[in-house]
Symmetry: C2
Subunit: 518 residues, 2 copies
């Protein structure tokens, strides 16, 4: 077995007969390097790897089939995990009447500034402009409807009718839905006006059960993001000022991107009795009393695709963990003339069939319009984990040339061993990607004990800064204003350790993690 | 094997210790009969079987976990069928800017009167009302956004950028999404302001390819609805006045409900070049020319759940075809005292495991709070296809008592044969339900040749009326105004047959199907 770095013959791409498709991939060749402009690199990957693009609606994205297929893989796995832990899916309305929206004061305050509001239910012909429509002033709604930025209000208004006794509890419901938050500055996947997510909303008879639910979902998220998406995360709780609007505690998982910025990958909220009080949801306890119901809510979104891209990808394009890859293995034939093509295709199809039989997602790209080098580039850009090249020599030698996307190495493998080799490599790549990201993350957690080092580390190295904090919102704001770094979380596994706040010099019990964040 | 009608001991339900849960099922005992009030019967099934309920938002429903699980089963199967025919999923924005919405004139005209319009993007504190919010007049959108009633406009505006050459075609995309149509009269599942659906949007280089796509999707829908949902349908095309707004041809599948009213179960539209022209989507043809792209769109929605209920259910509640049932088999233990309960539970769990191993969706209901008769009623109401009762005598005799929901028959089966028996019965029930519905449908297609018989049949028997029609919209309207019946479709397999229009007496080439419809 021989491994070597491979590179593509650039001239393969310089054929001018493939129109727009060519143009797109020609651009891909020139993907901006991460070191040159990380943000530009990110946007180019999203667009050139056909994941998503901006739409005609400000801040709303179009998730293209390749990007959506990744989301479907994520959904399938998460959905399985939710159901295995006793949760059921349901669907609640897109709209929240304003009077319900404003019922839980903190939640309303948190989302009021960024919500899309439906005020009318009809358009009519514009008498001044033939062929144009205008809002019909006679079709004004009596009460405005907010397009859900999150569904606590509409759901807790419903739970009031579902819950009367402790026997009706717990309610463990999840919803897959679109939500809208009118963000002023948007970026594909990371921050969009409309995004797709799941939101869990559970109701419990006791505080401890609700707390345990919020915590166990946070662990479930960590399990999913680490073991399925190969993204290492730190579990923790948010400081009060970073909490979800209306929550008593927000548990979170925090990931670190390659540019040293943190990304909140998922949150799980202990809502106490806030929503039950706002919506008057009481239950008869087993002891014969009457109490407000305890609540949690939790969600992850298409934002995770942004985290995925920024954790694993490189200057050549997207790198996908095999678990998430819509295509895990691509077979590219190499041939001259129709006869050779048919010969190679026969072998390729046999391999394809064998891989399908062991549930490997495989594509055989037998398009004649495109040269192998062009295809190599395309699948590299799109992050396909393994590429099998088959040419006349391979058929002669009964071998395949198999290349790995993450390491850019390739090996020549006997055809008899190919299936096992491919399965092993997919597994290996999944764990290698996680290890690589974890090593990077570990190398980018820096303990600092004074504010000068804090600022210096942030500027020169980035990543998480582990520092003592006096626990006040005032210090948090001062540090943010001075450095743009925020408290990402108070780590769940952080040891208690007496120390002195890096900013105020006041006493502290525990280090917390600061970072600049997406 | 012995079959007999079974009935439940009513007194089992008259226990007062189960609060609201009891109250709900007590109501279920009193389900209105179809013959008394079909519409009320339908609403009671939807609510009492925990499928859906009305929300605080006018016309928007809440799909409860049990109802949503049926939708998930439908989605999974349809999604598989779409992918097997080369379609991919993607996601487009919820909002359509007004200028795009109005671009295709007929489509805009068709939907303008029933669309929710977002005009503002922010709420603010109401200075006159402490704790209340109001629309912030300073956050008025420059251009209003229509909440999609369907996505042709936003998608064809996008396709313009995706399509330049015949090499970019076909595009075969499906979207799972929520849409909003501001209907004035709504009914759970059948007609709601917001509903869930899938919408396919395809782009083609030739008219014939687009036509073939629209037709083959209509066949796919018929296959799905008949073979998966056990609902027989008639395939056909719509008359011009019943066409989708913006389509040149609308293919459809029409089902017949038990009250003799028709229900449009799915539609597939050949859109010609209308949207390509409205959104300027041209492509370079293989021959070197430039042409507008040909389009189709097609969809089925949560409305199908309404069709499902009204096709199979009876006066005892929901009846679900096994393919769609979230729970295919429920095991109810019968015991006195803890010792017996443990004994029965051990046998039940073994059976449960065996059924799970052969992919039967099975629930073992070992709740001690509820008596067997109560549980029997609950699962009958919820349409669980098979119920297995296990008591001490069954353990002694090594048998199970297995009851079928559709026929209300039960049989005592040796435990050794139980798995095979259950699998057979599930299969049998799936095909029996289809046959039963098909027989009903066949018995309710009446050929009539004069307008008096037309009106008489409609009044006394209902169902589809197969009659000659002169092909004019004027006659169609006149018949509708006189009888409320509309042309449901011109059947695809209808033979050409010279005749005389049942209304105008003018010549006709083919019979069409009329019916009152949902």
């Amino acid at each position: 077995m021989c491994f070597k770095k491979f590179s593509f013959a650039a001239q393969n791409c310089y054929q001018l007969n493939i129109g727009k498709f060519y143009a797109k991939h020609f651009m891909a060749q020139k993907l901006t390097k991460r070191s040159t402009d990380y943000s530009k690199w990110y946007n180019e990957i999203v667009v050139n790897a056909d994941l998503a693009e901006n739409s005609a609606v400000r801040g709303c994205m179009i998730i293209k089939p390749y990007g959506y297929a990744i989301w479907e893989n994520m959904q399938a796995q998460l959905d399985k995990m939710f159901k295995a832990t006793g949760h059921q899916n349901a669907y609640f309305p897109l709209f929240v009447p304003k009077s319900l929206f404003e019922a839980e004061e903190k939640n309303a305050e948190g989302f009021a500034k960024e919500c899309a509001v439906v005020t009318h239910y009809r358009l009519k012909n514009d008498p001044e402009n033939k062929g144009k429509l205008m809002v019909d002033p006679e079709a004004k709604l009596e009460e405005e409807l907010v397009v859900r930025p999150t569904s606590e209000a509409i759901i807790w208004n419903t739970y009031r009718n579902w819950i009367q006794s402790y026997r009706d509890l717990p309610i463990l419901i999840n919803q897959w839905a679109n939500v809208v938050r009118w963000e002023m500055r948007t970026r594909l996947f990371l921050r969009t006006a409309e995004f797709l997510w799941q939101e869990g909303h559970t109701a419990h008879a006791t505080q401890s059960e609700a707390l345990e639910e919020a915590q166990s979902i946070n662990r479930l998220y960590a399990d999913f993001v680490e073991n399925f998406m190969a993204i290492p995360v730190i579990q923790g709780v948010k400081s009060e000022s970073e909490r979800f609007a209306g929550a008593l505690e927000t548990y979170c998982i925090e990931a670190l991107m390659q540019d040293g910025k943190a990304l909140q990958a998922g949150t799980s909220h202990f809502l106490g009795q806030n929503f039950a009080k706002a919506f008057d949801v009481k239950f008869a306890t087993a002891e014969g009393g009457l109490d407000h119901v305890w609540a949690t809510s939790w969600g992850v979104s298409t934002r995770l695709i942004g985290a995925l891209i920024m954790t694993h990808s490189d200057d050549n394009g997207l790198v996908l963990p095999p678990n998430l890859a819509p295509i895990q293995v691509v077979i590219v034939p190499i041939y001259k003339g129709e006869e050779q093509q048919a010969e190679v295709a026969a072998v390729a199809k046999t391999l394809q069939k064998q891989l399908e039989d062991v549930n490997v997602r495989v594509k055989f790209d037998n398009r004649d319009k495109f040269k192998p080098g062009f295809k190599f580039n395309e699948y590299e850009l799109k992050g396909v984990p393994l590429r099998v090249a088959i040419g006349p020599k391979d058929i002669e030698n009964k071998t395949f040339e198999i290349a790995r996307r993450d390491t850019l190495t390739k090996a020549v493998i006997d055809d008899q061993n190919a299936i096992t080799y491919i399965q092993d490599q997919l597994e290996q790549m999944q764990s290698d990607l996680f290890e690589k990201a974890k090593n990077f993350r570990e190398a980018h957690i820096t303990e600092v004990d004074d504010f000068e080092s804090f600022k210096e580390t942030l500027k020169t190295k980035g990543g998480f800064i582990s520092a003592h904090w006096d626990g006040t919102a005032a210090t948090e704001v001062a540090i943010k204003n001075s450095t743009k770094a925020t408290i990402r979380c108070i780590p769940t596994d952080g040891a208690l350790e007496a120390g002195i706040c890096v900013y105020s010099g006041k006493p502290s019990q525990q280090r917390v993690l600061f970072a600049k964040a997406y």
